[in-house]
Amino acid sequence: MTKRAGDIELVKVSKRYSGAAAVDDVSIAIEAGEFVTVLGPSGCGKSTLLRMVSGFVEPDEGDVRIGGASVTGLPPYRRDTAMVFQDYALFPHRTVAQNIAFGLRMRRMEKSQIARKVDAMLELLNLAGFGNRRIGEISGGQAQRVALGRALVVEPAVLLLDEPLGALDLKLRKQMQAELKGIHRKLKLTFIAVTHDQEEALNLSDRIAVMNAGRIEQFADPETIYNRPASRFVADFVGEANLFDATVIGPGMAQLVGDGSTVALSGDGLPPPGSRLTLAVRPEAIAVAATGKGVAAIIEDILFSGSVRRIVGRLANGQRVTAMQPAAAFTPALGQSAVFAWTAEAAWIIRP
């Protein structure tokens, strides 16, 4: 298969800092034009991974490929990547327009052509008229867009974004998410973003790589990541999940450990009776009723938040279970016993 310029491949890359692995044997293949988000908690190695693609960090082992060609060992200024830095890193001694023009000047583009491209970029980012402002004279949201423009204008094979919206307030963040997605759709460049905000990752990406302790736990589209997390960590980090340890007791049947309630399982290839497994169920897939089939629990906490109600119960084995249901649905009283029920399809088995 021939590679396109925007294809990015990491092959078994590792990076250790004084013995501890920041990135641990990661392999990932990103296709040209994809918007991929690396999602994980702070300190899991996201920035290190991104900086290996840009060339600021050399992997101890493994190979980085851009457009099918190995770039391992090449300095950042020899790579066709452009980065939006976490703190934007705009040049304080240059104007907005001069910041955007910087990469084009370094690539020795003709002056008139630079002016044209800078104007088009200012237009695209709703910054027309701000070209002559100093960096100290623009707002955080505008600075974010200038940083984006400065990287985009060189039309890199891949745009790297390190927590691009992290410094913005919530409202602006939502708006910029939409803009970022629109720009990606328009320019069709490969985007790799890094974030610890799961909602941002779900909103923006074609595919999400969930990272934990230097490793990629799962690399899939947002729907799969949310609905079928492959590991306990992913289930817990992306959205909210109730996790139950259970023992298989028959075809399509399992019993919660230390509780005695039985739950139905769906799908083929279930492990044989006697085996232990972990079940995951989203709170919004659980319904609470006064009586009936399901898992019995004592109601511990009820939180009303407008359209939905969170109901927290404690099972006989001491474990907590959280349900989230429409505010209009049945509501038990605190301290009362109730039944938490879900369909066989709502529960999935994850790797222990």
């Binding site: 200024y77 990469g103 370094m106």
Partner: protein, 298 residues
Amino acid sequence: MERISGGSPTILPSQRRRRRFALAGLAPLVLWQLVFFVVPLLILLVISFWTMRNYRLEPGFSLENYRAVFADPALWRSLVLSLETAFFVTLACALLGYPVAYFIAKKAGRFRIVLLIAVIAPFWISIVMRISAWRILLGENGVINQALISLGLTSEPLGGLLYSPVSTAIGLVYAYLPLYVLPLYAAIDRIQDSWIDAAKDLNAGPVRAFLEVTLPLSLPGLVVGAVFCFIFGLGEFVTPALLGGGKQLLIAQIIQDEFQRRQDWPGGAAIAMVLLAIVFTLLLLSMRYLRIASGERP
């Protein structure tokens, strides 16, 4: 934010009290400056228009002293030599100080405090002792000449090392280097690594990134250091007197000569005023530059 009172911002009584307190705190400093700087300066200014008759000061208003300053070729030569020396010392300090300041700010890691102290350390030793050390190094039978002879690089000791403009310059560079390194360090320390990274990320090689980002952002430090070096160098008296040998006099030595040996106070005062005018012009220009560089519109 909306302001409740429409006119000028109101000052609360507590604020006023605090302000008065702050002014009271500044009073000793203001008084000190008044008594030991402004008043002597004014006296000097007045005297520069007086004349000498029969070794006595005679009050009056005469521009003769200033005419003499610009008419005397020997004086001109001293002034030019002083400017040249100050310029050369400033340039040498910038070239030597930049790598030092850059290293301490960007590469020294946890050793930066130790290195900064090492840079300032010579300040703690008396200037006379420092100059004596240079005499031992540069003298005709000094360490450098001894070394050159024993290495066979020269048969005769080099005479021009000590008591020449060269030794004055060496002494001054050595004395002012810390003065240059400190403001440079402060400026380079403020340059974020991510700015340099961003330049490289956008295809600027190391040299280009230095010229486009690091150097222009070091400029405030370079200017402040240059002003320090140049102004101190221009008025320096002790080092040229002890290392320069007295064949070619710098302007500060001429002024001292006028006052002490020739007892021509008005003449000396006029030269001092000309020197002061040069210094003030430089200070004003550099302050104007720094205000613009720090983001204030001119």
